[in-house]
């Protein structure tokens, strides 16, 4: 049975229960016509000025007939609260999960144990699942390393393989085999010769062609911040510790420490800060700009589809500027 996720949660618990986690964001954005899903949600009454991901998640749950959802009520989007109410009103079973605002170990442990109780599993089974998933995650980490260190992986491929670790595509071993095949193919490639190295900060884009356009314009994303976080790039055997080290649900200053470390390590020339229309994370842009000593291009996405002409011109100008700076 499939269990929908509104964002990353300890999937070890769901796998331990024998159920299959499915990241609703991935399901929505890879569906045949994501724009149609957003329009469907608007037709039933979701406001125009609400996050496209929330609308997409609602619609894809109905389209794919998902009966149970784990929804993150703290550490992600506050629109999820209303989404939960709508789901429950429509007879969909919801388990709310909250990352503690203050990164308290005790509170997080209590949340995970509550979730374990809900799914009827114990620590031993969950730990086994962590070992199982960590073996798969290691492959995603290798792909990420090949992206920024060897230059053998495109920014889009890096994004794609990292983002899918949030649910392991419902079959960790099959996903592992897919990554192994990719790694062996990519090792035979010639390295990319990008003129500009970029960091991608923020939630995954709702645009379908952002990475491709960046590469057409002579750039390459070598750091996908949140997507990398989904892959749990931490060396710890402790599950609670793992979800404490995970930056996404906690404060922006905590995320910044990771961002600063990675952009230095990956020799980045500039930053693309992606923000979703109507998202509270847009406000954090002002902190990013003050704290990071690199050029920042903030782009805003609203609905699924290709980049609009205005965003494209800004992207193109940003790359021209970075290139000119590099050569001057």
């Amino acid at each position: 049975m499939q269990v929908g996720l509104t964002t990353t949660v300890p999937i070890e618990v769901i796998y331990a229960s024998g159920k299959t986690p499915v990241d609703l964001n991935n399901l929505f954005i890879t569906s045949e016509d994501p724009e149609k899903l957003v329009s469907k949600a608007e037709r039933v009454g979701f406001p125009r000025n609400t996050c496209g991901w929330i609308k997409g998640i609602w619609a894809v749950v109905h389209e794919k007939e998902i009966k149970e959802v784990v929804a993150v009520t703290q550490g992600d989007c506050s629109n999820t609260h209303a989404l939960i109410e709508v789901f429950e009103f429509q007879g969909i079973k919801v388990f709310p999960f909250a990352y503690p605002f203050d990164r308290s170990r005790e509170l997080l442990k209590a949340q995970i144990e509550r979730m374990m109780q809900h799914f009827g599993v114990g620590w031993e089974e969950v730990k086994k699942q962590k070992e199982r998933l960590d073996r798969i995650r290691a492959l995603a980490h290798e792909i990420d390393r090949m992206c920024y260190e060897d230059g053998l992986v495109s920014g889009y491929e890096d994004h794609l393989f990292l983002v899918n670790t949030s649910d392991m595509k419902g079959d960790p071993e099959a996903y592992g085999r897919q990554m192994e095949a990719f790694i062996s193919m990519a090792r035979r490639r010639k390295p990319f010769k990008e003129e500009v190295r970029l960091a991608y900060i923020g939630v995954p884009p709702i645009f379908s062609d952002l990475y491709q356009k960046v590469e057409e314009l002579g750039g390459r994303v070598v750091f996908n911040e949140i997507q990398r976080q989904f892959s749990m790039p931490f060396s710890t055997d402790d599950l609670v510790e793992q979800y404490l080290l995970y930056t996404y649900p906690y404060s922006f200053s905590y995320r910044l420490a990771d961002i600063k470390k990675e952009i230095a390590k990956r020799q980045v020339d500039g930053i693309i800060h992606y923000v979703q229309a109507f998202c509270f994370r847009q406000i954090q842009d002002l902190i990013l700009r003050k704290e990071v000593k690199l050029p920042v291009l903030t782009i805003e996405g609203d609905r699924p589809g290709a980049l609009d002409a205005r965003t494209l011109i800004r992207l193109e100008a940003f790359l021209e500027t970075l290139r000119a700076k590099k050569w001057s």
């Binding site: 205005r310 011109i313 100008a317 021209e320 500027t321 000119a324 700076k325 001057s328």
Partner: protein, 260 residues
């Protein structure tokens, strides 16, 4: 005599500049309409005719503007941001900021001494702060753009215009007309409202004393006055601000040829 050409296919007008090796240059402007490629070809032909030269003497063509990919005879493309910075630096030494107000958008660009872009901001996804906004308002007031600017310059005080959405501002202007607010006051209020919006963009970038004003809207004296009043600086406006982007493109074409 050999030269380089810059073609700026904007949302409202298409501009061409032919820059010759002796430093002289010729320019021409046509309406873009629904055929950007046709407008680019026509503009290029006219500018060659003005110089009395054949296309063969043009070593390289750079295209810019929204329609930059629709110029088949261009060798390279650059965004208007890069081209306006380059063009403005040709006219004025030591500029730190370029305000470019065109038909469909407004941009503020931070530049270094050589006219290389350091940073930039663009207006939001609407027509506020653009030439198109002024055109719509002039239409509501039954004035030409020039007449609207003259009215604004005559005004002793400004009407308060709070909405910057073109559609809502239109209703606001209609209400002001109905209330009997003098037309000059409305015109000046509109210019000041746009200037405030653009000034907010200027303040998002490092402040510089030497600010150039380019793009078609820079021809509007009332907009220059409004921006100078809000920003508290004397703007540097080239003789023909509308063709600065095309000139920048021609300069980039020249730089490109010289690098080869």
């Amino acid at each position: 005599m050999e030269g380089w050409a810059g073609i700026d296919v904007g949302s409202r007008t298409t501009k061409a500049v032919l820059l010759l090796e002796d430093g002289s240059w010729f320019s021409h402007v046509v309406l873009t309409g629904a055929d950007p490629q046709g407008a680019a070809e026509k503009c290029f032909k006219v500018v060659l005719d003005k110089a009395g030269l054949d296309q063969n003497v043009v070593l390289e063509v750079v295209a810019t503007g929204y329609g930059r990919r629709r110029v088949p005879f261009a060798h390279r493309q650059y965004t208007e941001i890069t081209c306006h910075a380059k063009g403005a630096a040709f006219f004025f030494r030591d500029i730190q900021t370029v305000i470019d107000m065109g038909g469909q958008d407004a941009k503020v660009i931070s530049v270094d001494g050589a006219g290389v872009v350091v940073d930039f901001v663009m207006n939001d996804k609407c027509a506020a702060g653009t030439g198109r906004f002024l055109e719509v308002m002039a239409q509501v007031l039954e004035l030409s753009l020039e007449e609207m600017a003259e009215e604004a310059l005559r005004a002793k005080e400004a009407a308060s215009i709070s909405s910057m959405c073109t559609v809502f501002a239109e209703s606001e202007v209609i209400s002001l007309i109905a209330e009997g607010v003098p037309r000059d006051k409305i015109c000046w209020g509109l210019h000041l409202a746009i200037a405030k919006r653009v000034a907010a963009m200027v303040r998002r970038l490092p402040q510089g004393k030497n600010v150039a004003f380019t793009g078609g809207v820079a021809k509007n004296r009332a907009m220059r006055k409004a921006l100078e009043q809000i920003l508290g600086v004397k703007l540097l406006v080239p003789e023909d601000p509308q063709v600065v982007g095309a000139l920048g493109a021609a300069l980039l074409a020249r730089d490109g040829t010289r690098c080869k």
